[in-house]
Each structure stands twice: as structure tokens, then as C-alpha cells.
């Protein structure tokens, strides 16, 4: 009897601890969506820098402004504890994010600086975009290096 009780308690502790992907479905959509907005706007700028599309000052500026706008979203609410890839499917967020939140936040801050630099450069021709792309790419990679798990 005693044993059964412990087993039952252990079981209920387990289920109480594990949040389901369902609880955080909105959080996952929101944080992954913001990265998609970044990627789409980078596409506009990167294709111009590579000469794949013609330079268009207005479109470039709008894309850079959007990058800055996304970078101003406060990240705390999008990353509730217990929403890492260890806890649930549908995310590539590594648990290390919560081990060193300060560093993660600093890397988001670095993205903001790189986006601001792009905002200043985007209106000045395709040649000015290239170096600013380098800065942005560095900010994306630095965070993905530590905090995003490989694809399944």
C-alpha cells in the first residue's frame, strides 16, 4: 500500500511539474514569429546587398525600421520557465537560456545595436547595407550558437 502511494505521489508530482506544449502554444508562436519577421526583413536587405534585387531606398529603410521595432520587444514574457526543448516539443530553445538569462538578454541587446546600425545605413545605397548585414549576422549567430538547439 505504502509503495503504491509513493508511486502515485511520484506520478502526480511528475505531471504537475511538466507544463504541456499546449499551455505555452501562444508563447512559442509569438517568439518564433518575431524571428520570422526579422528573417523576412533581412531578406529584403540581404538580397539588395547581394545584388539579387535592385536597391530601393524606401524599401530598405522600411525593412531596417522593422528590425529595430522587433528588437524593442521585451523578451521576458515570451520565454516562460519550463518552455525549453527539454520540456516540450515544438521549440528549439535550449534550457541554457534560463541558466544564464542575463547573457541571453545581453545577446538580444546586441541585436538591437546591430539593427540600429542597419537603420542608419539602409538609406545610403546597397554598398552600405553589406557591412551592416555582417553586424546583424554576428548578433544572430552569437545567440543561436549558445541557445538554439539543432533541428530534429
Amino acid at each position: 500500500m505504502h509503495r503504491i502511494l509513493t508511486a502515485v505521489t511520484a506520478l502526480s508530482l511528475c505531471t504537475a511539474g511538466a507544463a504541456s506544449a499546449q499551455d505555452y502554444a501562444g508563447h512559442l508562436k509569438a517568439r518564433q514569429g518575431q524571428f520570422r519577421i526579422l528573417a523576412i526583413n533581412l531578406g529584403t536587405l540581404g538580397d539588395m546587398a547581394q545584388g539579387k534585387t535592385e536597391y530601393d531606398a524606401e524599401a530598405a529603410q522600411a525593412a531596417a525600421d522593422s528590425l529595430v521595432a522587433v528588437s524593442m520587444i521585451h523578451q521576458g514574457p515570451l520565454w516562460p520557465e519550463g518552455s525549453s526543448e527539454m520540456d516540450m516539443d515544438g521549440t528549439r530553445a535550449k534550457s541554457e537560456i534560463w541558466d544564464d538569462w542575463e547573457d541571453f538578454a545581453a545577446k538580444w541587446g546586441a541585436l538591437g545595436e546591430a539593427a540600429t546600425a542597419m537603420q542608419a545605413a539602409a538609406g545610403n545605397g546597397a554598398e552600405a547595407i553589406g557591412p551592416a548585414m555582417g553586424g546583424l549576422g554576428g548578433a544572430c549567430k552569437a545567440c543561436h550558437d549558445s541557445y538554439r538547439a539543432p533541428q530534429n
Partner: protein
């Protein structure tokens, strides 16, 4: 009966003896590097393409500190955890007093100066294909880097993999002087092959391994499980990676995929290195990937 047992024992002893001889470290001929001196400036490009710093810099080093090769990074595998040693020019804790021949034996043959086999977590089966002049240039460059007196840490590897002699048997199975891509019709593909197969050891991460940890050349660069946790490392053969050559070269320079996602994980260090190389090197790697057969069967 007794005779039979004796025969079996004899055979076993003979086999062990032969095994002992076969698994002995096979050093490079003493004369091969004698009298050679390298050019440190040229060695920097070899060093960057080969990614030595990616494994040998201190665990949390950033920026210029990545040139201090004090070791300490840990590499998990199914055989245990390997810890990269100090290979800075410090004569006590590093390798500053080794000399070119000892260095070449480590990099091209996986043999330490004391004659022990090194573990293939150090990708010397790829570096075995390096040109002698590149090894000499690399050694000259390494000696210009800052020294660190950080002691190397022991590996966390259990029996039987802690017996280095066993690595000799492994080398018999997997170390080969042959290129994986046998035919390279032009100079660009030849350079691409040199970068992919010898220096940048792309196969170490992107090729699946068999039960003994050897790379499966019948599924070359077709992707592999991630050795340090969940997920997979993507395949690079044209049936799996349908990017055009200029997109592959741009990824190696910027980390951006064609849809402007950004590289992560262990690929970040590779991109950081390739961003420093010449555009022609990135284009050569792209040409190599485009020349791979679908399915990666190179046997």
C-alpha cells in the same frame, strides 16, 4: 583435449602478438620534415580553415582570446568525454618545445611525442591529407600565438576506450590516404576537396558514424545525429541541400540561409572561420558540395 586447449592458447598469443605489432604507432619518416621551415603568415590561413582554435580555445573565450589555445573545451561522445588539451606555445603545459616533426606526427598521424596514440576526437584522419608545406606553415604560425600555462585536463573515458593501444586498431580500420571524392576534374574542385576533406573536416560532423565511431563513406555528408544531445546535423548532398552554389558560399560567409535564418550550434565557429578566408575558398567548398552524388555513396 589438452592439446586442443594448448593450440587455442597458442593461437591467441600469436594473434595478440600480431595485434600488438599491427597496432603500434606508425610515425612519419624522420627525414620528411627535416630542414623544413614554415611561413607563419601563410600558416594563418591553414589554421583558420582547419578550425584548430574552435576546439582548442578556452571554453568561454571571445574575440582575440580565441587565439589563446589553452584547451579545456569538452567533447561528449558515446565513448566518453574528451577534453581538448593546451596546444599553446608554452613549453611546459603546451607544445612549444615539440618541434615540427613531432607536431606533424600528432596532426597527420595522431601520435604524441611519447609515442602514444591520440584519440580521433582530434580529427587527424582528415588532417592526414594536409600538404607538408601547410603543416610546416601551420607550425610556424602556432609558435607566434600567446602562451598559456593552463595544465591540460584528463579525458573522462572508461574501459576499454581508455586503452590508447586500442586506437591503433581503430586507425587500421579508418585511417586512409585516399580521398573520399576520388576524381576532381578542375582546380576549383581540387581546392574544395582539400578544404572539405582535409582542413575543415566537414565530414566529422555531417557524416554518420558506424558502431566503432568511424565515418561511413557510403553515406558521405548525408547528415548525422547531433553527438551532444537532441536533434540532427543536416545533410549536405544535393538531394538534401538544394541551395545553389552562391547561396552556399554566402552561408559560409554570413551564416544566413537562403531564407535568412541564421546558423547556430557548432556551425557558428565554422562560419566565423570561413568568413575570414578568401571568397574563392568559399566558392570552392560550394562547388565540392554541388559535385557530391545524391545519397553520398562514395565507395
Amino acid at each position: 583435449m589438452r592439446k586442443a586447449i594448448a593450440a587455442v592458447v597458442l593461437v591467441a598469443i600469436a594473434a595478440a602478438g600480431a595485434g600488438w605489432v599491427l597496432t603500434a604507432p606508425k610515425r612519419l619518416p624522420e627525414a620528411r620534415f627535416a630542414g623544413m621551415t614554415g611561413d607563419p603568415a601563410a600558416g594563418e590561413r591553414v589554421f583558420t580553415a582547419a578550425g584548430c582554435a574552435s576546439c582548442h580555445h578556452a571554453p568561454d573565450a571571445e574575440g582575440e582570446d580565441k587565439l589563446v589555445l589553452s584547451g579545456g573545451q569538452r567533447f561528449a561522445s558515446e565513448f566518453g568525454t574528451f577534453v581538448a588539451p593546451n596546444i599553446s606555445p608554452d613549453p611546459e603545459q603546451g607544445i612549444g618545445d615539440w618541434g615540427l616533426t613531432a607536431f606533424a606526427n600528432a596532426v597527420m598521424r595522431g601520435i604524441s611525442p611519447s609515442g602514444r596514440h591520440l584519440y580521433p576526437a582530434f580529427p587527424y584522419t582528415a588532417y592526414a591529407h594536409m600538404r607538408d608545406a601547410d603543416v610546416a606553415d601551420l607550425w610556424a604560425y602556432l609558435l607566434t600565438l600567446p602562451a598559456s600555462d593552463m595544465p591540460s585536463e584528463p579525458h573522462e573515458v572508461a574501459f576499454p576506450f581508455n586503452i590508447r593501444r586500442g586506437v591503433g586498431a581503430w586507425k587500421l580500420l579508418y585511417a586512409s590516404d585516399d580521398w573520399v571524392m576520388r576524381e576532381v576534374p578542375d582546380a576549383q574542385l581540387e581546392r574544395g576537396r582539400y578544404l572539405v576533406e582535409a582542413l575543415a573536416h566537414c565530414g566529422e560532423c555531417h557524416t554518420p558514424r558506424d558502431g566503432l565511431g568511424g565515418l561511413d563513406s557510403s553515406a558521405w555528408l548525408t547528415g548525422a545525429p547531433n553527438p551532444s544531445g537532441k536533434g540532427t546535423i543536416p545533410g549536405l548532398t544535393p538531394d538534401q541541400l538544394d541551395w545553389d552554389a552562391s547561396s552556399i558560399a554566402y552561408y559560409l560567409e554570413s551564416g544566413f540561409t537562403p531564407d535568412y535564418d541564421s546558423a547556430g550550434g557548432h556551425m557558428v565557429a565554422v562560419v566565423e572561420n570561413f568568413a575570414k578566408l578568401e571568397a574563392s575558398d568559399r566558392e570552392a567548398v560550394a562547388a565540392y558540395l554541388k559535385a557530391l552524388p545524391a545519397g553520398g555513396d562514395m565507395d
